[in-house]
């Protein structure tokens, strides 16, 4: 097993609940992402939140990104554990929005100018264009980019202005096998760019999310003693998995391992039962 240890928290969800018009969507969600350190490895980490379609994952994403305040509870980010504000967490939404009135290079520049002076911003943008294989498309408008290019551009844009935490809402949704492999590569690439980089995947794709993550939280519904479904999705104690501890993290082809397949089956069974 790869040696590792945890340092300070980088994201803390403390007792988050969210209601809309009196309807409880999320209930008492608590989770903490800790900075993981692997000796002799300069690589960040990937963590995953799994939830079925329509369970409130996108609401949870907006709360984690500081775009909406929860009805109850707090979100704290960074080593200083400050309350989350918009812009503190890079957030790539499901449809990879970009500014359609700006070219690709301008889209990246407008993001980079938040953290860097104009000259540095230009250099950073060039380096990201190169790293994400987007240099040939720099003058194109978003409408001219393919889905994959658009996704890479959206990730690069968020990386250019956020502080190490990047949240991906359904990054594998509607993609074919080849595109999923491409996105997986990008996610790994993001983690190798800085050892403090943490990618948070919020998805309903259990296999791909589990294969990439070293921590996994399962959003689901609970039942009361009488067996009735409680309102609001939550993460209970049994649905928090430390994949590093289980020996299922950081393997290049973990999906081919029988232990991985068995774990995924167990999770699927959990989901069916909930």
């Amino acid at each position: 097993m790869t040696p590792y240890f945890y340092k300070e928290p980088v994201l803390t969800l403390d007792n988050i609940s969210m209601s809309f018009g009196g309807e409880l969507v999320l209930r008492d969600i608590s989770a903490q992402v800790l900075d993981v350190v692997r000796p002799n490895m300069k690589q960040g980490q990937v963590v995953g939140f799994y939830g079925r379609s329509g369970i409130g994952k996108s609401v949870l994403c907006r709360i984690m990104a500081g775009l909406v305040a929860p009805s109850k509870g707090t979100v704290q980010v960074g080593v200083e554990q400050e309350p989350v504000k918009p812009g503190a967490v890079g957030f790539v939404q499901q449809r990879y929005p970009l500014f359609n009135h700006r070219t690709l290079v301008d889209n990246l520049l407008v993001a980079a100018e938040r953290k860097y002076n104009p000259e540095e911003a230009r250099q950073q943008v060039e380096s990201y264009l190169e790293r994400f294989c987007l240099t040939p498309h720099r003058k194109k408008y978003p409408a001219h980019l393919s889905g994959g290019q658009r996704q890479r551009a959206a990730i690069a844009q968020q990386l250019l202005c956020s502080d190490h935490l990047i949240l991906l809402d359904e990054p594998f949704s509607g993609l074919d096998i080849a595109m999923i492999d491409e996105v997986k590569k990008i996610i790994v690439e993001v983690t190798t760019m800085d050892e403090l980089n943490t990618v948070i995947i919020v998805s309903h794709d259990i296999v791909t999310t589990t294969a990439l993550a070293d921590r996994l939280w399962l959003l689901g519904y609970e039942r009361d003693a009488a067996g009735n479904l409680l309102p609001g999705a939550t993460i209970n104690q049994q649905h928090q998995y430390n994949l590093a501890e289980m020996g299922l993290a950081w393997h290049p082809n973990v999906e081919a391992e029988p232990e991985f397949a068995q774990f995924v089956e167990e999770i699927k069974e959990e989901i069916r039962q909930s």
């Binding site: 890079g90 009135h101 408008y141």
Partner: protein, 258 residues
Amino acid sequence: MKELFSPNANPRRVIFLSMVAAQAFVLLLLWLFYPLQLFPNLGEVFRSLGSLIADQGLIQELWASMTTALQSIAIATVLALLISYLTALPFFRPIAYAATKMRYLTLTGLTFFMALMVSSGHEVKLSVLIFGATVYLVTGMTSVILTTTQEEMDHARTLGMSEWRAFYEVVVLGKLDEMLEVVRQNFAIIWTMITLVETLYQSEGGIGLLLYKQNRYLHLDGVVAIQLVILATGALQDYVFVLLRRVFFPYSWLGAAK
């Protein structure tokens, strides 16, 4: 040929242009040979057009109306943009709402109050046109602003933009091309109102006044000639707006269905 009648088909350019030419030719034949002579014949209209240009200064009158129209649409656009953008602040939303509802007001009577507020006939003319165009422009512009999605605003916010900066990036810059389209569509309102205002204040002339006089003396060939000139001016104006949009907002056509 079959594709001209297939839904959502994209006929080749040459086929499409031939079809347009054929349709124009049929229209011309109808005008020339339709037994019920509703309109003056083509020769009369052309002769009248020549006489209007030579004897009654049609080109100068058109130019006078055109400058008034351009002046009005420019001021109305600035006013309408201001009112529409201010809807970002809840305090100003009732003003924009009220402005959109003023489309239903008829201008008759309003001109009297405007005459009391401004000093010259030219200013009354302008203020009527500006009022008429602004209420339509605000309606179109606020609709454009309302198409802004949560996703677009969230995207700007996640880049650390303040609320005003996000509004500027997403709504002001992001929708400027659509605002130009609103101006193009509503410029026509000015031309429909110009006859009314030019007849109210006749000292400055204008093509609207010329049309009014031709109509009054039942010179139908002159009426049709002037209407055709206004139609051609409008079409040219539309073309210029489309050209401006292509030059200044090249991204604007990229997502459109073909």
